[in-house]
Symmetry: C2
Subunit: 163 residues, 2 copies
DNA sequence: CAAACATTTCAGCCTTGGCTAACTTTAAGG
DNA sequence: CCTTAAAGTTAGCCAAGGCTGAAATGTTTG
């Protein structure tokens, strides 16, 4: 048997050489699982916010279409969001965000924009940047986000150039 | 009613101004959902690869400990991985990777390392970089990955400096 | 060899987030 | 006003990925 979980290497450079210490490793995976739980919610809320902003109203059909899921799925998710007090609506009427929902939407949107801008500043093509940003935004810590923002601003002083 | 899904804005800069065109938007969310399905699998496979590499064998207990989940969860996942022909083992014996599994592990590990190195090169602290890398690695396209690699190499010519 | 302990597996439960199908409500048109 | 289409809702199904608890198998040790 191998003496695992011994891990004296608490300050190793990280990956490839040796395994990260167990407790650190656990933290990484826990963070991913945690992000998992919130990211879909954030995506829905962010989308509702965008629809409200750009189309004046957020309807289930539009959400279903944009997300590429069925209306039933949207309906179920809206139940969830209502129970979380992020979304409100009267039956058969379009959706709106609560204060908490609006805050989340704004937060998400801001994060999304920073990541997207950062990727484009790096030289990633527009299409790819959008897809990657959508996936990455929920896994980027505030620390990294700040750095990304500074970076993007440095590289694109006035405004971003399209790809 | 609002004439949604009309979307003449196919070449808009992207986010914040107007909504992305619907078909583009669908693609983004589809990509995220798709990544979702594979990322856990990749994480498990990558971890098994790491354990094999650094400890000589991969046991359910160790996986459970490192992932921070129960052994039963690991067992169930191993069933899934076996059915996908990524992992093989004889009952009550430790696990090993099939050729496909090994390929996936290597691929994941490489991606992980690039993202991690990139984040550190950006100036993100070690702890944060690890957590973010774990989350980001499954959402970074090959295009972005290539750019990250070039970038990290530029900024850290010889070797990475610790934070 | 047998007991004690660690590990693996199995059975069964829960929640999420998809789906389809059937139904109700709203909106639009003749 | 009645019909029809579109949109929203509800019920019920499924797979994934967690969990606990109990049973089976391996390993170590007296």
């Amino acid at each position: 048997m191998i003496d695992s979980a011994d891990d004296p290497n608490t300050d190793n450079p990280g990956h490839g050489d040796v395994l990260p210490p167990t407790n650190q490793h656990v933290k990484q995976y826990a963070a991913v699982r945690n992000a998992h739980e919130t990211e879909l919610i954030e995506d829905y809320v962010e989308l509702i916010g965008d629809l409200l902003k750009h189309q004046g109203e957020a309807r289930s059909t539009d959400i279903a279409t944009r997300m590429g899921v069925s209306q039933a799925t949207v309906a179920k998710m809206m139940c969830r969001l209502k129970s979380l007090d992020l979304v409100a609506s009267k039956p058969y009427r379009s959706l709106f965000l609560t204060q908490a929902g609006e805050a989340m939407a704004e937060e998400s949107s801001k994060r999304h924009a920073i990541v997207l801008q950062f990727l484009r500043a790096l030289g990633v093509s527009d299409q790819t940047a959008r897809i990657d940003a959508e996936g990455m935004e929920h896994h980027v810590s505030q620390e990294t986000l700040d750095i990304m923002q500074r970076f993007a601003c440095q590289l694109t002083p006035g405004h971003q150039r399209e790809g």
